[in-house]
Amino acid sequence: MAPALLAEITTSAQPPLLTREIFGNIPAWARLLFYAAAIVAIGLWTYGLYRRVRRWRRGRPAGRIRLNVVIRRLLRDVLLQNRFRGRPFAGTAHVLLFSGFMVLLLGTILVGVEHWLADLLGRAPNDPVFHKGVYFGIYELVTDTFGIAFIIGCGMFLLRRIRGQGSFDRSAGTTGIVTLLLVIGVTGYLVEGLRILLAATPLPGLSPIGFVCAKGFAAAGVESDSARTMHFTLWWLHAALALGFVAWMPYSRMMHALAGTVNLVLRDHPLGEMRPVSLEEVETTGLIGVATIEDFTRSQLVELDACVSCGRCQDTCPAFEAGKPLSPRNVVQDLLAAMNAPSRPSARLPGHVIADETLWSCTTCQACADICPLGISPMRMITDLRRNLIGEGALRGSPATALQKTDRAGNPWGMSGAERMAWAAGLDVPLARDHADFDVLYWVGCAAAYDRRVQRIARSVVQLLKAANVNFAVLGPEERCTGESARRMGDELLFQQLAEQNVSTLGQRGVRKIVAHCPHCVNSLRRDYPQMGGQYEVVHHSELLAELIAEDRLPKATSTTNGRVITFHDPCYLARANDITAAPREVLAAAVNGNGALPIVELPRNRRDTSCCGGGGGRMWFDDPPAQRVGQSRVQEIAASRATTLAVACPFCMIMLGDGLAARASNVEVKDIAEVLLESLNPPSGSGEP
């Protein structure tokens, strides 16, 4: 076919002008009717959009975003469709459909502009303003090519629906809209083919698909007269469907194109960050968190309209995977239904629209927010709703006890602050209050202070810091829980109380740089504490250790490992919330390179695609029976790998995965990267028990 087309392009007779007549074969009355219908369609579109915007405006005003950020996001996240991860088939289908749609939309607008200009300048039908010559040639070739992308995209989406696998929503409305788009695309080509046949457009090969259609009609023996009637009929069908699509758009799932764009451009929540609550506001309104739709921010209500119910969040949610009653997609869809419900006053959301159990199932691992191509954060909706539940006293049992203990004793274990240095027995660890001249503060965290297993992480870290001659100190009895867990459970005021105490202590001790081995502490000190007036340079121990290794400040590894195989589990708050995936691997590589005999294998889900251990968001304090804990499939994944050692970089991961592996009687040993590194430096003595 291609050489034949080429022949057509090169050998066709010299035309007077390379163009086509706009509204060719469409009589004046029909043009008027078309414009009238277009006005109606655009009116319906505008009204539909207005209705949605009015709903969004029921929310609280959201923060403002800088223009350069808006432009960058518009290019990267919207036009370049940069946020697709996973599901290659659907992702490709979307890129094809989207790019085709955008080009055809632009093409239609350009034709409209040409027609309007020609009318304004009083041009004859065969004397266009700019829709001619080389421009026309490029225009035809580009729109024709992208039209095919558009049709293939629609076809792939329909095929996926017919095959029926996957967690995406298959409502008739959505199938209808994809079918409608497909028919619009196909009729477009048919109209083009008939037009080429009728008007004998010069260089028809520039519209290859349309030209093939024309050839097809010719081969089928379509006569000039019947071609005219067919063209007129199909043109109307094409026009009516396209205008119908415009009118339907803001009432259908296609609304995601508008709301999604608004959300991708204006969203104001980096992963790992939470919106602060003002105490005065709580005092005056008596309200904390989100009780009804009106308590969400406007940008969150836009998120609800942006959701197409594709189910990527559900597929990646570790709580859903563990059989907990939580699907992030259903949370968003249920909230959307609540926003669209006509009842006033609005329904109470936590405990009614979204069940308590659902809200407590979330580990705040942020996989849902990270995977969503439209930048929706179901997790943030969940934590906002949790805040309200906490205010209502709707938490009982062991997680409630953990919060009470944190409140009273400054740590979830409830143990005395005076015992915070028990882990350091015999290690001579300097306290910041006695040793004012330190460069970096080692933030030990509650787990390493009170949990016997995690204490060994802190012991390893200080031995490494000492080996590298890092001038460090710890707060010791002055340290309190960061409040990270409390905040993500929804206990904002407890968090604020703890953060105020810590910010005051850190200020008193003149702390500027902090290292912590806990990604939750790192994230909280980085993202939560600036909201409370605490600005520090905060690094994870993997980053500091990688830096010390790169600067040759640590001795070279010497261990022999007897065929140990090591794998690494990325912590959510390190890999996703803080984008740190290279540093822990560099630390492990340094431990391995001592002999080259300790291979590192990657788990199937690694780096940003890691899967939660089940300990985040306060889930650490829920006493699920082992088989029902979030993260069991992750444990299985680790047990099924070739690894004999699981390296972790987070105390919660160590406890949750360690418990999970022990429950399976697995022989995989769980060690922090600092322990692995220290053992490789001095194999005979090991890290030493406290």
Binding site: I288, G391, G393, L395, Q404, S416
Partner: protein, 250 residues
């Protein structure tokens, strides 16, 4: 219906408690205090009743200094409607606590008094029983289940031999055991929201109860600190050790 819930403020049980050097008191100055856990169960049960039945008022009472605001605010955050602090600087034994509470009961005329079976600081386990006797009310101690059947109250109580079920006519007094319920979490946000609820202070002297101490604390002594464990090589060695300790040779 009105439910009165007497509460006590006790040192946090997670903390190490030591006697003062002179043995006259317990060092509690720098130790966080909480509402007595058994009393929290009583508050929770009263609030649940108020959520289940109509027109139920839950009133929480505490006897002590201004520091009692904290446990009472906790009770209000959990759902009690109002609180009363009976201001009294003197340390009281259970008998005198019961007598002050009797005066409060006569003033408030509740249908039910729900309270913890004992306080976790002195573990006396007397106040509820004394109060029921002083009021000449039916009582059910160590309750693990409560149910209203008509105008009667059916209570399952935990005994050493199993569950005993009693039916009480109101007004009555019930003391709560551990398994009755799981108290809800009174967060700071909840306490803040409950700040508008009334918290009244009455001086103990106003109640017209002459305090007559019957129990005098002579001395406090710290318990033995736990000795470090020892790792044994075998189960046999362990059995031998036990036998030796029990004096049956080995």
């Amino acid at each position: 219906m009105k439910i009165l819930v007497p509460t006590k403020r006790v040192p946090d049980t997670d903390q190490k408690i030591v006697a003062s050097a002179d043995g006259l008191r317990v060092e509690t100055d720098h130790i966080p205090h909480v509402i007595n856990p058994f009393d929290a169960i009583a508050v929770e049960e009263a609030v649940r009743i108020s959520e289940r039945l109509r027109d139920v008022e839950v009133v929480a009472v505490g006897i002590g200094g201004p520091e009692y605001e904290q446990p009472l605010r906790t009770a209000l955050a959990m759902g009690a409607a109002r609180g009363i602090i009976v201001q009294c600087a003197k340390p009281l034994d259970p008998w005198n606590v019961s007598r002050l509470l009797k005066a409060i009961v006569e003033r408030e005329t509740p249908d039910l008094v729900l309270m913890g079976k004992q306080a976790v600081d002195d573990d006396a386990n007397q106040t509820g029983q004394f109060l029921a006797a002083l009021l000449d009310w039916p009582q059910a101690t160590f309750a693990s289940r409560l149910e209203f059947i008509g105008n009667e109250l059916r209570v399952d109580r935990e005994t050493d031999h199993g569950i005993e079920t009693l039916t009480l006519t109101l007004p009555a007094l019930v003391t709560t055991d551990l398994r009755l319920n799981e108290p809800r979490y009174a967060s700071m946000a909840g306490i803040m929201k409950a700040r508008k609820k009334p918290l009244e202070t009455i001086a103990a002297g106003e109640l017209g109860v002459p305090l007559e101490p019957r129990v005098e604390v002579i001395r406090y002594r710290s318990g033995d600190t736990r000795r470090a464990g020892e790792r044994l090589a075998s189960l046999d060695e362990f059995a031998a050790l036990i036998a030796q300790a029990a004096g049956i040779g080995g």
